[in-house]
């Protein structure tokens, strides 16, 4: 490690918590304005990649990470798909939430379900992009 590395490491570590917070904001803001699960997933992952570059303690490494990330990515996508089918089960169209038998007003049901879908997408994207990063750096699979 050279002395100039310290700049990269310090900046990268400083950025990580803010990026995670920003990711959470983007995720929850998804159904009101610009944002959503995909963007949030990318931001979460960029935080993790920065952490890896900065060699901080939340670095991900080693063999098991690969298959855990697979499970993460897959379950996020399945969460999205299954939530969509709830619409059909409740008697509406695919991805239609207004008919779900929940004790809230329609807007609240929409907000809850869309947030669940966005979380699913965020998990899937984050897991898969992490896997891509691990594979490129030769630490995946």
């Amino acid at each position: 490690m050279t002395r100039s590395d310290i700049i990269v490491r310090t900046i990268a570590r400083l950025m990580v918590p803010f990026l995670l917070l920003f990711g959470a904001y983007i995720l929850l803001h998804g159904h009101l304005g610009a944002g959503g699960g995909f963007q949030a997933g990318i931001i979460f992952t960029s935080a993790l990649i920065l952490a890896a570059i900065g060699r901080s303690r939340i670095e991900f490494r080693s063999q098991p990470a690969g298959s855990k990330l697979w499970i993460l990515g897959v379950s996020g996508a399945v969460l999205f798909g299954v939530t969509g089918f709830l619409g059909i089960v409740s008697g509406g169209f695919y991805l239609q939430y207004s008919l779900l038998p929940l004790p809230f007003p329609v807007e609240t049901i929409h907000a809850i379900m869309i947030t669940i879908v966005e979380i699913g997408i965020g998990i899937a994207v984050s897991g898969m992009i992490c896997l891509v990063f691990l594979t490129i750096t030769g630490r995946g699979e």
Partner: protein, 494 residues
């Protein structure tokens, strides 16, 4: 409560996609069941497609509004006759291919098996979506899903040649996707909607604006890379030659899905406003189609590798389908759609037979076919049936569809294109008869006698070969779906 049959358009798309997501998880937990799950999912998908086709044939097109929001804002799926018949074709062929594949997968190694099936299922979901969606941006997303799965399927072997072929495909395909996205943006800016039918209603008033025409040109160019229309077919031979057996099969279907997108672009979006004065598109497409037919066939004649030869033959057949589409008459459209079906069945038969020969006997080059009819009679018989249909020998399926397209050309007075189709038939006969001569009339030069392919593969090859011939006798079965499809697209109703 909405009847279950109304959900079929989304089920046909989402069943393969969700199974694709589950497959890697299953691959980690229970390694042996991956194939079973893929086969079950595609069987259910085939059942749904059959129901959908039956329902559409009786009750007419289904319109499905995702999340219950109607078209101007929401995403609409439309299962019309064209979508339903292509969806059925895609489900049936992929099911057959995946059953064949479950015998040959060990060549990839255990680790890649679940990823491989994931990519196949994703590609199937993408194709089903492309043929059923009525939303231009959704079409782009589904084309991307299909394309990304295809890049993976081409490169999955991971050796130098297949990675290079996948990279080549990725470069050309990404450029095509970018053009499609920009074109979609242009049309969205001009019309304010992404729904294809609504765009078709708005466009006649503003057809002369450069934005609209530019968007149209970009979309056509982008789709041309996806369907491998003549100058942009160059990714095909490499992608087919070095990929595992299933990739050419899925790709043959993917090209047809792209052609459906092209048909919808020309007839649903631009159909009402398209005329020879504003856009000379029909004549340009006819010319491209004819050039594709001639040049791809001549190049196919020079190939030594069987898969590369079949890839160029596919390029020529795509030219024929584009030729049929470009005539803008119902006869031309019917011919094009029929040729999509006959070409898919026969070409898939040829690819699977060629793959069985490669796996069983290492046959890759055309000289290796010497004496093959003697040693692998059934595989070679299936191959010959498929080849007869691709050549267009009378009474086979390929003959009927070529006749339809040629008739359409004569119907609007463009005799030259009928001549092109005749000349193309001769060229195709030339390069397949070369194989027949080696296989049936020349003795084998091998030291050891080859063994016949295992019987499940033979059965699949013979079923596909028989189907490609029988389509010529029972041409009315697909035509029952195709005629109303052409009627709807040309605005005449069913």
């Amino acid at each position: 409560m909405i009847p279950v049959t109304d959900h079929l358009p989304i089920l046909v798309v989402m069943i393969p996609v969700i199974t694709a997501y589950i497959t890697p998880l299953v691959g980690i937990l229970l390694k042996r069941t991956v194939k079973g799950i893929a086969v079950v999912a595609l069987s259910v998908n085939l059942a749904c497609s059959l129901l959908l086709a039956h329902y559409v044939l009786i009750n007419g097109p289904i319109s499905y509004h995702l999340s219950g929001v109607p078209p101007p804002l929401g995403i609409e799926f439309v299962a019309d006759h064209l979508g339903a018949v292509l969806s059925l074709l895609i489900s049936a062929i992929t099911l057959i291919a995946i059953i064949y594949l479950s015998a040959t997968i060990p060549e990839l190694g255990k680790k890649k098996t679940s990823i491989f099936y994931t990519l196949i299922l994703l590609a199937v979901g993408g194709m089903q979506g492309i043929v059923l969606t009525n939303d231009l941006f959704n079409l782009f997303v589904l084309i991307e899903i299909l394309a990304i799965a295809m890049y993976g399927l081409v490169a999955i072997r991971g050796d130098g040649k297949s990675l290079l072929a996948g990279y080549k495909y990725l470069l050309i395909g990404s450029a095509g996707s970018a053009l499609i996205l920009i074109g979609t943006g242009f049309l969205f800016i001009s019309t304010g909607t992404l729904n294809m039918t609504l765009m078709g209603d708005i466009l006649p008033d503003i057809i002369n604006s450069w934005t609209v025409l530019g968007g149209f040109a970009l979309l056509i160019a982008g789709l041309s890379t996806k369907i491998g229309l003549f100058p942009l077919h160059i990714w095909m031979p490499d992608a087919y030659a070095h990929a595992p057996s299933i990739t050419p099969v899925i790709s043959t279907l993917a090209l047809k899905a792209g052609l459906v997108a092209l048909i919808r672009l020309i007839y649903v979006i631009f159909g009402p406003s398209l005329s020879a004065e504003t856009v000379p598109l029909p004549s340009v497409l006819s010319l491209l189609g004819a050039v594709a037919i001639i040049i791809c066939s001549i190049v196919a004649l020079q190939q030594a590798d069987i898969r590369r030869m079949l890839a160029y033959s596919t390029g020529a057949n795509i030219g024929c389908i584009v030729l049929g589409i470009s005539f803008a008459t119902s006869a031309g459209l019917e011919g094009a759609m029929l040729h999509m079906i006959t070409h898919t069945v026969s070409k898939v038969c040829l690819f699977i037979a060629a793959d069985a020969m490669l796996i069983q006997a290492g046959i890759r080059r055309i000289e290796d076919f010497r004496g093959l009819a003697d040693e692998m009679p059934y595989t070679m018989a299936g191959f010959s049936l498929g080849a007869i249909s691709i050549i267009g020998i009378p009474l086979s399926g390929g003959f009927m569809s070529k006749i339809y397209v040629a008739n359409a050309a004569i119907g609007i007075g463009l005799l030259i294109y009928a001549g092109v189709i005749l000349f193309w038939t001769l060229l195709t006969a030339l390069y397949f008869f070369r194989i027949f001569r080696f296989a049936y009339f020349e003795p084998s030069h091998r030291e050891h006698r080859l063994h016949e392919t295992p019987w499940p593969s033979i059965l699949i090859i013979l079923i596909l070969g028989g189907a490609s011939i029988l389509l010529g006798f029972f041409v009315e079965v697909p035509m029952e779906m195709i005629r109303p499809a052409a009627g709807i697209l040309l605005g005449g109703g069913i």
